[in-house]
Subunit: 342 residues, 2 copies
DNA sequence: TTGTACGCGTTATCAG
DNA sequence: CTGATAACGCGTACAA
C-alpha cells in the first residue's frame, strides 16, 4: 500500500513550505516563475495528485452532485442521467446515483445521506406525490441547489425541467381524432402524480376542442406494464360497442392492449388506433410500430445539468428557473390509417 | 445559509469536549450511560448529522464507489448499475457514475479523477481492449479494490464477474443446428474485444461438435445497430444459396437482419432462423419474438458489488475472485420452427 | 515572493 | 470515564 504524495512531501523535498507548494500548483497568488516550475515539475515526478476530499472539507465543495430517480434501468431515466453526466463531467462534477424504487422513505433517506456527503447539488425526479416537504426545505435552507426534472413539485425557490405533459396528451389525442376516432379510451397512470394528471387533462381538452364528449367510463387507471394493458383490453372487448382509439400514458400498457386486441381479431389501426407515451425503443422496432410521445430525455438531462451549473456558479443570486420542454409526437403505424376520412 | 451543527457545537452547549461527543455518538469507547443519552438527545435536537467528508479525510474512506461503463443508457448497463446500487446502498456506499463512450482517454481520465476523489473501490467494464495498463496498475498498487464486470482483462490481482460468453455462443448455435440449420452465419462485434471472440469461439465449437464445417465467409464484423443488420442481410440475399441460420452477437443487428429479410420475402424462422444476444426488452415484445441470450445483468451487478464488499472488508488479505455466470438461452419464435426434423 | 499559523470536522491516542 | 491534543491534506489570511 503506497501512500499518496501530499503537498507536504513536495515541500520537504524542496526545502520550502507547503503553502508555497499549494500556491505554485494553483497558479494563483504571486509566486516566482522559478519556484512554480520547480514545484510543478517535482509534483509531476512524485506523481502528486490533489486530494479532493481534503479540498472538499476545506472549501465546502465536494464536486459531487446527487441524482435521485425511482429506477435507473429504464430507457427514460437512463438517458436523462447519461445527459446529466455528460454535461457535468467537463465542469468537473461527479454524479452520484440514488434509486428510490418509489418508496417514500427511501427518498428521504437518500436526500439525508446526500446532504451529509456534502454534495454540491441535488437533481431529482420525485417518486412520491406526498413527499415530506420538511426534507425539501432542509435542502433549500442549506442553500444547496435543488432541481426537479420530469416529476416535479411546485416549491418556492426550486427550479425544474419538465416536458409539457398536457401538450403531449393533447397532441396524441388530437392525432387519434384526426384519424377518425370518435370513442377514445384513455389509460392513465397513478392520478395522484402530476404528469399523469396533465396528460389526462390534455386528453380531455382535445376531446372538447373537437366536440367529442368526455366519458369517465373510458378512462382506466393502471400500472405501467404489459399485463395491465391486456387486462384493460379485455374490458374493452366486453363493451357493447368497441372503442376506436386508445391513448395510453405508458408504452408498455399500449403494447399489452395491442397484443390482446390482435389476438382477438381486432385490426390495428383499422378498427382501433393505439398510441402510447414515452417513446420506448421497442415502439419503433415493432413490425406494427407504435405511435408515442417522445420526452426528449437527453435534452431534459442536459437542461437540468445546465440549470444546476448556473445556480451553483451564482450562489449569491437566487435563481429559480422553470424549464418546459415541448413533447414530440411520433406518429407510427398503430395510429396511422391508410385512408384518412377528410 | 444555515451552518450545519458539528460535534463541537454540541460540546459547547453541554460544557464537555468534542471528543466525548464523538464517543457518545459512536457508541464506541467506554462512556457513561448518562452522558451518552444526553449527547444523543441534544444531537437529535440540534439536527446534528455527521459530516461524511471530514470522516473521509480522517479515515481515508469516502464510502464512494466508482462505476465506469461505456454508456449508462442501455438496458444491460442500466440493469447492472441498478443492482450494484441496490447491493451497495445498505452497506452505506454511494455509487459514482462515469461514462467512457468507448473513448480510451476518457477511461484513463475517469480512473484518475476517481482515485483523487478517494473512492473506496472501482467497478468497471473495460471499453478499450488496449487500455493503458499503467493506470490499472496504479489502482492495484494503491490497494484500491478493482473489479471488472462483463468486459474484463486478465490482470494479476484483479477480480472479475463475467458471463460465459463461449457457452452463450455455443448454446445459441447448437439450438439453431437442432432446428435443422446447416449453413449458419455469425455476425460478430469488434473481434479485438474478448467477449466477442468468445461468442465466436462458441459458435465455431458448436459447428464442429455437430460435424458442420466452419466457413469464414459466413462471419461478418459489424457495429451493434439495426442498419448494420440490414447491410449484412443484403449480402446474404446476394449469396448463391441463402444461409438458413443467423447468430448475431447483437440483438440490434439481429433485428436489422430480420427486417431486411422479411421485406425481401424470406420467411422466419421457416427459411432462416435468427438469434441475437443480450436479451434486449424488444426481443421479447416483437410479434416475431427474437431468440437471444440473457446475460443476467442484475445478478452480475449484485455479484460485482458483493465481491467488492468482500474485498473492502478484508483489506489485509488479498482476494482475487473470478466469477463466471452462466448465460440463459431464451428460445423464441425467430428460431423455433413448428416442425422439427428429428 | 515566501513562511507562519490556522481552520475545515472528525477520530485516535494519551493522560488524568 | 473524560479532557486535551494531534492528525488527516489542503488553502489562505497575515506577517515577514
Amino acid at each position: 500500500m503506497k501512500k499518496k504524495t501530499t503537498i507536504y512531501d513536495i515541500a520537504v523535498k524542496l526545502n520550502i513550505t507547503a503553502a508555497t507548494v499549494s500556491r505554485a500548483l494553483n497558479n494563483n497568488s504571486k509566486i516566482s516563475e522559478a519556484t512554480r516550475e520547480l514545484v510543478q515539475k517535482t509534483a509531476l515526478k512524485m506523481n502528486y495528485e490533489q486530494n479532493k476530499v481534503a479540498l472538499a472539507l476545506k472549501s465546502g465543495k465536494s464536486y459531487n452532485v446527487g441524482v435521485i430517480v425511482p429506477r435507473i434501468d429504464t430507457t427514460f431515466f437512463g438517458s436523462v442521467i447519461r445527459a446529466i453526466e455528460e454535461e457535468l463531467y467537463p465542469a468537473g462534477y461527479h454524479v452520484i446515483i440514488c434509486q428510490t424504487h418509489d418508496i417514500e422513505s427511501r427518498e428521504v433517506e437518500n436526500i439525508t445521506t446526500l446532504i451529509n456527503a456534502q454534495v454540491d447539488g441535488i437533481l431529482m425526479s420525485i417518486s412520491s406525490p406526498d413527499i415530506d416537504l420538511n426534507v425539501i426545505n432542509q435542502i433549500v435552507k442549506k442553500n444547496i441547489p435543488l432541481i426537479f426534472f420530469d416529476r416535479k413539485k411546485d416549491i418556492e425557490g426550486v427550479s425544474s425541467v419538465v416536458i409539457n405533459d398536457f401538450e403531449g396528451g393533447y397532441k396524441v389525442t388530437k392525432q387519434l381524432i384526426e384519424q377518425g376516432c370518435k370513442k377514445i379510451v384513455h389509460i392513465n397512470g397513478n392520478p395522484k402524480i402530476k404528469i399523469f394528471q396533465e396528460r389526462c387533462r390534455g386528453y380531455k381538452h382535445a376531446l372538447k376542442d373537437s366536440g367529442l364528449a368526455y366519458d369517465e367510463k373510458l378512462v382506466f387507471e393502471t400500472k405501467s406494464n404489459v399485463e395491465e394493458g391486456r387486462r384493460v383490453a379485455k374490458l374493452l372487448l366486453a363493451m357493447d360497442t368497441l372503442p376506436d382509439g386508445v391513448f395510453s400514458s405508458s408504452d408498455f400498457t399500449a403494447l399489452g392492449v395491442i397484443q390482446e386486441l390482435k389476438e382477438n381479431g381486432v385490426k390495428i389501426p383499422e378498427d382501433i388506433c393505439v398510441a402510447g407515451f414515452a417513446n420506448e425503443p421497442f415502439t419503433k422496432f415493432m413490425e406494427l410500430s407504435i405511435t408515442s410521445v417522445d420526452q426528449s430525455p437527453l435534452e431534459m438531462g442536459k437542461m437540468t445539468a445546465k440549470v444546476f451549473l448556473e445556480q451553483v456558479n451564482n450562489k449569491e443570486i437566487k435563481i429559480e428557473k422553470k424549464v418546459v420542454l415541448e413533447p414530440k409526437l411520433m406518429i407510427r403505424k398503430s395510429s396511422l390509417r391508410k385512408v384518412i376520412s377528410k
